[in-house]
């Protein structure tokens, strides 16, 4: 009966029945077109990786089947042979209700290419007859689809332009990391609350974590109300009309389903096509996009959110496990020592042996594993036929098939061991490292080729290659180990913790919290620091006491520049140019420049060898005289001049013995050289008048000078240099 249906059913629907009732079809992309699961995906396609001991694609197919889909086109790309082989062996090929067809293409390097390929095939065979479901083979869900497809069709009937319905699910993302549970970036979408039309789609990039979204003004013009959500998760389950395929064909640069296609439709407004959303509430949907989501989805499965696709139910030819108390799933033939402590939410597969004194919690252990004595396994995913010898410690790691971990070895959080790796005795695999028997591909281009090359040539010869490599270089994982520790790609290193299986470490979290707090205080201190200079002396002091990092580095750089300028006698113009450049790159005010420049000049004077205070004064005087133009460039305004005085005062406070006595003299010098105007000095004195006694030391020191300045300003241009010298 199954065979009949296969042959006959398709043909019939191609002809006449099509109009009355369309077959429910789905396209399943058995390739993620991403490299996030490297190095594991170099040897096995992602859809065949086990999640809670069942290959991902089985979850997807089982769900599609029970959701009423009748025909699935499995689009295979990388490792297509393996996928097809697996499907042939599994019961999916002979399934009575679900017709599984595979489509193979090695040229496609993105979802866009895959759909274009489908479109080309389509014109020849017209396989896709109507609306179809587009999912990737790493989706775990239990949502019903028939109603949704019906809804889509009806909407399509009313509105020709409604070509796609996108499934979303509420899932709050972390306040700290702006990351969803599944390790993807926070998603901002804008939806019309009445029609559920998608108006805006934006995945928050890490470089603007401020959480700001820009919506086009026109959105608000055309829509009476817009619902903006940041707590939605994109399930990557789309109900598409055939127009989607042709859209991909027309826009040959579309690669990514969301980044290009959805954005393209929304922003470029192609032919007025519209995308709608459908929010699911009671059912589950999640896509395994990275190691973090691998961890999260595994736990969701163990917690039974994906019911009935849970380990104790045989949903796709998997052998069901027995569910015990505390959410422990155990195969019937597990050999477990009495002294072993198996904790909550753990899955143990068939034929696995667990030794004495083992501590296992929150982990998934596959079939045919051997675990020695006194092993600690926490939050880890051990796949099939893994041997773990006595006394190992494994925390938050993924260990692929056939791995051997020798006695006493330790896997730190976030480690991924690819197939058949051997970890040497007592070797500690550092956190977040990825280990494979294959060497890390050097450039991005070459690894694409590599992945396809071994997919077509099969596994035999690359396995022999592995053995060679094993012999040649075995020391990276201890003397008796085998495997290469992959370098994290540039830029990705900092991000490693974000997408790892390990939970975000505590110190990282506190670091982020700290950073956010700093940001907040920065916002409060930096902005007013320049603005409030004139009015509030206290704020300046606090600012000075609490030097902010940027300013510190800026000052250092300015100091370097000035030093070089003095030593090499560079022209003033060039120095100002350089300091201006620094100022822009550090986002400083010109008052900051004035302060920094003055600081470096005085510092230079102090650093020049001298025996007495008068010698120091001479040094300072010469430098100021030579470089007054530079300083003058930045002290055009009263505020900037005050900043210079403040800076000077601060320096004197730091080294009261050397510079302290010279305060008035240098201040006078600056006045003489027209660097400072009398207004600035007087203003400074006024501000200081209200300060603490301790702060007034230098004010008192130059009391007479200020007095004189006051008189001078009253008597206008009276020449009173002699009077001054008396002080």
């Amino acid at each position: 009966m199954g065979a009949q249906k296969k042959g006959g059913g398709a043909r019939v629907s191609e002809d006449a029945v099509e109009q009355s009732r369309q077959r429910l079809q789905a396209i399943l992309l058995a390739d993620s077109f991403a490299t996030k699961f490297r190095p594991v995906t170099l040897e096995r396609p992602k859809v065949l990786l086990p999640i809670v001991n069942v290959p991902m694609i089985d979850y997807t197919l089982a769900w599609l089947e029970s959701a009423g889909i009748e025909e699935v086109f499995v689009f295979c790309c990388a490792h297509s042979m393996q996928v097809i082989e697996y499907l042939e062996k599994s019961e999916w090929y002979s399934h009575p209700n679900l017709l599984v067809r595979t489509i193979e293409s090695h040229k496609s390097i993105s979802a866009g290419d895959a759909l274009r390929y489908m479109y080309e095939q389509q014109t020849e065979t017209s396989q896709i007859q109507g609306d179809f479901v587009l999912v990737s083979g790493d989706t775990v869900s239990n949502m019903p689809l028939t109603d949704l497809i019906q809804e889509h069709r009806e909407r399509k009937k009313k509105d020709e332009k409604a070509i796609m319905t996108m499934v979303i699910k509420q899932s709050k993302s972390s306040q700290l990391t702006h990351q969803s549970r599944l390790g993807t970036d926070q998603l901002f979408i804008a939806v019309d609350p009445l029609t559920k039309q998608l108006l805006h789609y934006e995945e928050d990039k890490i470089d603007h974590p401020s959480g700001s979204v820009c919506l086009e003004k026109s959105l608000l013009d055309t829509n009476p109300s817009v619902l903006v959500c940041n707590d939605m998760q994109d399930c990557y389950i789309d109900i598409c009309s055939p127009e989607v395929l042709s859209l991909f064909e027309d826009n040959f640069d579309y690669q990514h389903l969301r980044r290009h296609f959805v954005k393209g439709v929304l922003v470029d407004d192609i032919m007025g096509y519209k995308i709608f959303t459908h929010e699911i509430h009671s059912s589950y949907a999640g896509r395994i996009d990275n190691f973090r989501s691998y961890d999260t989805v595994s736990k969701d499965i163990i917690q039974r959110w994906t019911y009935p696709y849970v380990p104790d139910i045989n949903f796709s030819g998997n052998r069901p496990l027995k569910l015990g108390r505390q959410g422990i799933y155990r195969a019937s033939d597990v050999v477990q020592s009495r002294s072993a402590d198996v904790g909550a939410s753990t899955v143990i597969g068939y034929g696995t042996k667990i030794g004495n004194g083992d501590k296992i919690s929150n982990s998934v252990i596959g079939n045919g594993c051997y675990i020695g004595s006194n092993v600690v396994i926490e939050g880890s995913y051990i796949w099939n036929n893994v041997t773990i010898e006595d006394g190992c410690e494994i925390r938050n790691a993924i260990v692929c098939d056939g791995v051997k971990i020798r006695a006493g070895a330790v896997l730190q959080p976030g480690v991924v061991l690819s197939f058949n790796v051997v970890v040497g005795r007592d070797f500690v695999v550092p956190a977040y490292s990825k280990v494979s028997l294959l060497q890390q591909p050097t450039t991005e281009d070459s690894d694409e080729e590599l992945e396809y090359a071994d997919s077509s040539s099969g596994t035999a010869d690359h396995l022999s290659g592995l053995n060679l490599q094993m012999e040649s270089k075995a020391s990276e994982l201890g003397p008796d180990g085998a495997g290469y520790i992959w370098e994290a790609c540039e830029g990705a290193h900092d991000e490693e913790w974000k997408h790892s299986v390990a939970p975000i470490p505590k110190d990282k979290l506190s670091e982020i919290t700290q950073a956010i707090d700093d940001e907040d205080t920065d916002d409060e201190s930096v902005v007013p620091a320049s603005g409030e200079l004139k009015s509030d002396a206290d704020s300046i002091n606090t600012d000075v006491n609490d030097p902010n990092d940027d300013y510190y580095y800026f000052e250092k750089e300015v100091e370097g520049t000035v030093l070089r300028a003095v030593e090499e006698n560079i022209k003033v113009d060039l120095v100002t140019l350089e300091i201006n450049g620094l100022r822009l790159s550090y986002n400083m005010e010109s008052a900051d420049c004035a302060g920094a420049t003055f600081y470096s000049m005085i510092k230079l004077a102090v650093d020049t060898p001298h025996n007495s205070a008068s010698e120091l004064y001479k040094n300072a005087a010469s430098i100021i005289t030579n470089w007054k133009e530079l300083l003058g460039f930045y002290v055009k305004k009263i505020d900037e001049q005050i900043e210079v005085i403040m800076k000077f005062e601060e320096m004197c406070q730091e080294s009261p013995k050397e510079l302290g006595p010279l305060f008035t003299q240098i201040l006078h010098l600056l006045y003489d050289k027209d660097v400072l105007q009398e207004d600035a000095i007087l203003r400074w004195a006024e501000e200081k008048a209200g300060a603490d006694e301790a702060d007034k030391v230098y004010l008192k020191q130059c009391d007479t000078f200020i007095q004189w300045l006051k008189e001078a300003s009253e008597e206008e241009d009276e020449d009173d240099e002699d009077e001054e010298e008396d002080d």
């Binding site: 009966m1 009575p96 699910k169 899932s171 589950y284 999260t296 939970p503 979290l509």
Partner: protein, 407 residues
Amino acid sequence: MPDVQSTVVEFVNKLRKRKIEGSQATAKCTVELLRSVISHQRVPHANQAAALIDAVKAVGEQLVAANPVELAVGNVVRRVLHIIREEDLSLTTAAMGGLDLLDASDDDDVDNCKGIGYPAMSAAVVAAAARSTLRPPSLQTLLEGTPESATVPYTSSSGADSESKTADKSSLTRKLKHDVIEGVNQLIHEIAGCHEQIAEQAIEHIHQNEVILTLGSSRTVLEFLCAAKEKKRSFRVFVAEGAPRYQGHLLAKELVARGLQTTVITDSAVFAMISRVNMVIIGAHAVMANGGVIGPVGVNMAALAAQKHAVPFVVLAGSHKLCPLYPHNPEVLLNELRSPSELLDFGEFSDCLDFGAGSGSLQVVNPTFDYVPPNLVSLFITDTGGHNPSYMYRLIADYYSADDLVM
């Protein structure tokens, strides 16, 4: 045969994906499937019963494995096996009897003799006779001791059909198969009619102006209550809503549609309301051999409340729900843990489940069933009448053969 195979696969798939719900529906599907298995099974000349038993067992094992929680599947499979054994036994005793009468004569003579000697005797009677020699008679067999010709209407006709030896052989095999299918049909009839059978007794149990409490939704309970209503009894029904699936709401809707005075209460209010209640009536998922009941979650709480206030706790169960297993076997005391999404909204709680941020400590457990020990049950009402919990094991002995208990 391939047809049967594909229907078996389809049914197994449905069971696996938990697409069939309710023990009656499952039982019905199972027995219909087994009937087609039997009718398509090619029977060898020798040892026909064994061939049938093997075929049914093979399919039965698949079905039980597909959803071990649905005990009705196993029950029905065992019932069918029992029918095959009984029919086989009756045939052999009949043949034996024939041989005794005409010593070592031809098959024709046997046939003749059979035609003369046992035409009207039904297989059931023979089986009952045989059973009485094999094990002590139960109350059931004693009560059912009178022959009913209606149960096996075709027994007499088969003898006349055969004329030659080969024809007779085939007729013998056909006869066994025929009788078995007849028996299975009767079982189908019984399962389909269990609601009415149980509902007929409603009038004896529900009295005027009583208050009945029920929990969750059960078709048997619905029919039972409605039957009492039709007999002009006026009474009130409290329906505990049966969180988290709230099937009590559906039941309340139906009851109101049929004109009963209905009150919906929360599960947690059961104890508060129990003092006003005259009788608790619930539908069972399965009845174990010791008289314990597996029912919707919350039932045990209602039973304890009923015991505290000495309110009769009555369980309605069709005979296909009688399970010959004991609950002390951990393999049997199964529970289905369903999705936590029935309890709480994933989206609202997703921040408590963020394993990456280290706050994934929230666990949700959503069991479907509850076990009520036999000492809390006052009365079972099955399609054969009311029974005490302590009598269950005897009832079960009538329905199942001991050979099939372990499949």
